[in-house]
Amino acid sequence: MATKILTEHINVPGIETFDVYRKQGGYTAVEKAFKTMTPEEVVEEVKKSGVRGRGGAGFPMGMKWSFLAKPEGVPRYLVCNADESEPGTFKDHYLMKTIPHLLIEGMIISSYALGANKSFIYVRGELMYVIHILEKAIAEAKAKGFLGKNILGTGYDLELVVQPGGGAYICGEETALLESLEGKRGNPRNKPPFPAVKGLYQCPTVVNNVESIATTSWIVNHGGEAYAAIGIGRSTGTKLISASGHINKPGVYEIELGVPVEDFIYADEWCGGIRPGHKLKAVVAGGSSVPILPANLILNLANGEKRLMTYESLSDGGFQTGTMLGSGGFIVMDETSCIVRNTWNFARFYHHESCGQCSPCREGTGWMEKVLHRIEYGHGHRQDIDLLVDVAKKIEGNTICPLGDAAAWPVASAIRHFRDEFEWHITNPQEATQPGAVYRGEMALV
């Protein structure tokens, strides 16, 4: 049986309450950390675990923590990024609503490790009911002495604040999130300085994803080495995957990193295969921002080996033949999906969500959306395809924050792998614009 670090107790009735969570061994990690470990030792265990940020970029969490500046007399902050708005990603939402105390416990341990006395959970505004769940959990933890002044008699104080966002995807970008938390317009900041040096209110700040923070109680309980023993190479531990699309069993799955992609899609333990009578066409493996891959390339590397669910294996082949694990939003498409329409839909999202600060993203996302819209609705020209590639190239890497890249990659990769389909839309507009029409030309379905 595969190890479950986050979801082991998720089906226990009443797990959202303090008492049930506590009965399942909850808050023992806080006790262990506070009574037997120094903050530095907690950081050390997290470093040893090799756990990487689960919000998308995959930056090693222990390393991020050790970069935190510690000037005298300046407060430090921990901010949990619960803005989860990436299309295809819904794991943090699931975790927070079903087992909120796991996040609260993780926040207490992480805040202790970083020396923060006031920490924030920034939740996307649409999830009001989750905010209520978290607030209730915080009140319970406070009543039991795990939050507030002098926690467990150690003299350490911690206040947890839940802040609803305004429903903007861009506020998931860590520096936009900090601006928003400060009560300003959610515009990403130019970096450097990084939040570790100048973050919230210009004080040193760590921003981590919900899932990242939630792993810390297990790491404290079992040790960093035990965590690092799970997974393959630099992809240690488990990862929540939000599986959606044309599969038999959509849902959130906790996998040990290293599961073959093929098993993840077809095994009954996870997605349970493509819906009956259909075939796999393409997968977006890590949330809408990562490059889309056709069936043959998502299942196998360019050299024919099986592709695995790890950071390294998914990005094997660079952008030519690879993609990224990203936030773990696994979107599966069968042969009834129109790649042009899907790409237009993603482009529409990024156009809508661009903050508008920097010119390549503000103007380029809208341009791409309009051209894709034209192609999808039968008014494309042949040169539009190269135009899209060029616009994507001129956005990529030239923007303030990675939203520009996130908008460019889906378009560039869809054209890279499904160019025929774009051309078919342009040369056969009559056919392509029929309701439900999909390209049926030559392509590798599995």
């Binding site: 390549p360 103007e363 051209v371 001129k394 030239n398």
Partner: protein
Amino acid sequence: MEDNKPQLFKVTVDGIEVEVEPGTTILQAARKIGPEVAPPAMCYYQPLKGSGGKCRACLVRVAAGSAKDPRPMPKLVASCITPVQDGMVVENTTNQQVIDARNGIVEFLLINHPLDCPVCDQAGECDLQNFAFDHGKATTRYEEDRRTFEKHDIGPYIQLHMTRCILCYRCVYTADQITNKRVHGVLGRGDAAEIGTYIEKAIDNDFSGNVIDVCPVGALTDKTYRFKNRVWFTKPVDAHRDCPTCSGKVTLWYRGEEVIRVTARKNEWNEVTEFICNTCRFDQKKTSDWVIEGPTKISRSSVISANKYRADTIKPDFGKRLAAATYKPIDDKRDTSQLDIQQLPPERFAKTLPSALDKEP
């Protein structure tokens, strides 16, 4: 390093070495060398704290991060906000990737721009015109609808023509830092973002007029000057007055004997360093209100002042014939050679910019 003097950093921009103080940005270091290697800046405005980093016009490549760590930076960086390191090597005009990126930025800035220069008051002193001329293409690949906005009067003196705005945020920083009460900011997101005065409130503030001067395009214009003349037909003269509110140092723009516009003075980078009050700008339009210093020396480059619209200097393929038919060479009265500048201190004219003609092989 016992020395108290800060150690200077050596930086190389396009092969030219310069020494600057630690903390200097790449852009400022390049400006120190001269306009030939200074990256264009559409949003950065030195007197405004926090400005820059947005338009990406000033992207450069850092070929070597520093003497200690000579690795190149992986991406192009915004030179206006990136501080130099000792031994840094920067490529600006010499790097194809930079040139391509800049080309892209011009294109992005123009796709939603109305290109109504013929009726725009800013034409002739517009940063976007200059930028597009230097780094843009003569054709467009954009065939979609352009975003449009209604014109808004913000107060009695200023008109906002949002359709022309490039969202550089300069006016926001100005309202924030120069005026005492900000009722002006960015509303909305992405390409629907717009400059707004909250609930259409008039900006009535002693220093609000400065947003007109900082605006790189014709999005914020002076209503007292609207459609009065083209800037290249007006004659700028430096003048001052005893003003209780501001420095009182201005440029008067004459048409014949009439002052048709008052602005703050701009340096060679097109930046105002001494902001002026609304009384000086909007209410003092008689020569007798002012002590005249002498003709303004326009040292900055613009498509007009550098005679770039002269038909024989138009480079792009599209238009020699069109240009020859449409434009006449402009006899620029502000050319230094034709101005009597003797009575002014010579250091003010230390630099004359090369014209487009000089750049031609």
